[in-house]
Amino acid sequence: MYDIQRIITDIVGLIQLSDISHFILPQIGVGGGVEAKEYVELMPLIKSTLIFLAGLGIIFGLGLAFAAKRFSVKIDPRVEQVKEVLANAHCGACGYAGCEQYAEAVVNNPDIPPNLCTPGGATTCEAVALITGKKAEIREPIFARIMCQGSWSRSVKKFKYEGVQDCRAVILAGGGDKACRYGCLGYGTCSRVCPFDAITMTDDQLPYVDLTKCTGCRKCEAVCPTKVIEVLPSSRQVLVTCHSKDRGVDTKKNCQAGCIACGICNKVCPFDAPSIENNLSRIDLDKCKVCGLCVKKCPTKAITDFIPKRPKAFVMDNCIGCRICTKVCPVNAASGELKKLHVIDQSRCIGCGICTAKCPVQAIDGTFNAAEVFASATEKGKAA
């Protein structure tokens, strides 16, 4: 204490020695309302300044400390943990405004499932379930599907549009420049709103969805003015990619790849999945077994098979020769006599997987659904 006092007196002595205790202190400030004084008593000024600043600091410090104590909010540490494992894309796919709100809800409300974060996928779901002590139910991933194949070269335009290059603006100009008012306008609004850069526009002005990046957040579905984007479960891989409800003649006039409601898909489907309504075929996703028969038969190629390559079926040695596959095969590729090893004609097989599913002893392999069929068969065997 004594040391400090001595230092202060030393400084004061220095100031007095150098004779600057009386000098003009300029007053500068916005507005300039405070008049300059000719002489300023420096010592009392420094004292009052120090006291004032220190006092202000102490008051604010105490006040803030008191406020922090009095108004403290207990935050569940799990909320922070959940927030960290979420995708943090703030896409709104979970139905909440942002990741923070979902994290809060999933921690505080026991009824909210941990699997709502679609961008995060299975890993996030498991992590959230672990933190909140809930049961993880991994949802089937969902993807955005573009329900139109009428690219600019394959469809007809009503007029030449030269405005703002955005679908939401184009639709205001007479319902869009496309002759088909149900199709994709091709100005790429969906590709711009996608928070994951999953949608790119092809050279022919049709959106292409990169399934490795798409998380099914439904942003594109919401923004598309013609509602041509549908977000569907990933296993639904055979879809009528057309929304045209025009009469078949008109659809054909407007677009080379539109559904003309001819009903061939309906006739050819062994499971009765497609049905025609309002001049448009629609595949019942619960009935469809993704065999891809209709894709081959559709005259306008309006049905798209999202399985890029269908491997062909082959018969394994445990075939019992029951002839079931020869009966169910829609293209007559399977043949063989009773109680003898059957063969599948590789040139005819379209990889629909129907025989794989129907074979009583799981002797047909190679199709896209083989792994799934075998897995469910072993599970059934275990249960029995």
Binding site: G29, G31, F52, L56, G63, A67, V73
Partner: protein
Amino acid sequence: MSIDSAKLFELIIAASLINNFVFTRFLGLCIFFGVSKKMETAVGMSITFTSVMMISAALSWLIFNYVMIPLDITFLKIIVFIGVVAGFVQASDTIMRKVAPVLFHKLGIYLALISTNCIILAVPLINAGEKYNFIESLAFAFGSGIGFALALLIMASIREKLELADVPKTFKGLPIAFVVTGLIALAFTGFSGLIKL
């Protein structure tokens, strides 16, 4: 303290339109460009800004007139006002989190941005310099807040449309925003001479 309603109205109009902080004094531009991208944030910021502005102006006026003038340390006003505003913003942040969590979620994120804003500092300084009385200071703060809100709303509505417009590549983003601000500032000079002060 005489209250002259005509004078107060003049003050509000002068602070919001004629001497609009953004368009004629060019203060507070960082927040102005930061939150004017979307209408939603612009509205939230405007509300928070105006209320913080008025309360901090009142606090600073009290401290300036009842503590700093008697102690004859008015030259400290810049430091003190910064401290007062920052302390007040921090306190309101803490209190709002507890008392009104809904309001905090809506407006809380803007609070931290405001504490270092230059308009918030300029208003108490001008109040002190022009020797406004308490009511006048409040009116001036209110006018400034309204002026800033007006600037934000105008800019947000223009920039939302600008997103869709075919802007040359070099001008995309901030450059075109500055150009637009300049044009609005030109338009705001039309307000000068509205009131003789």
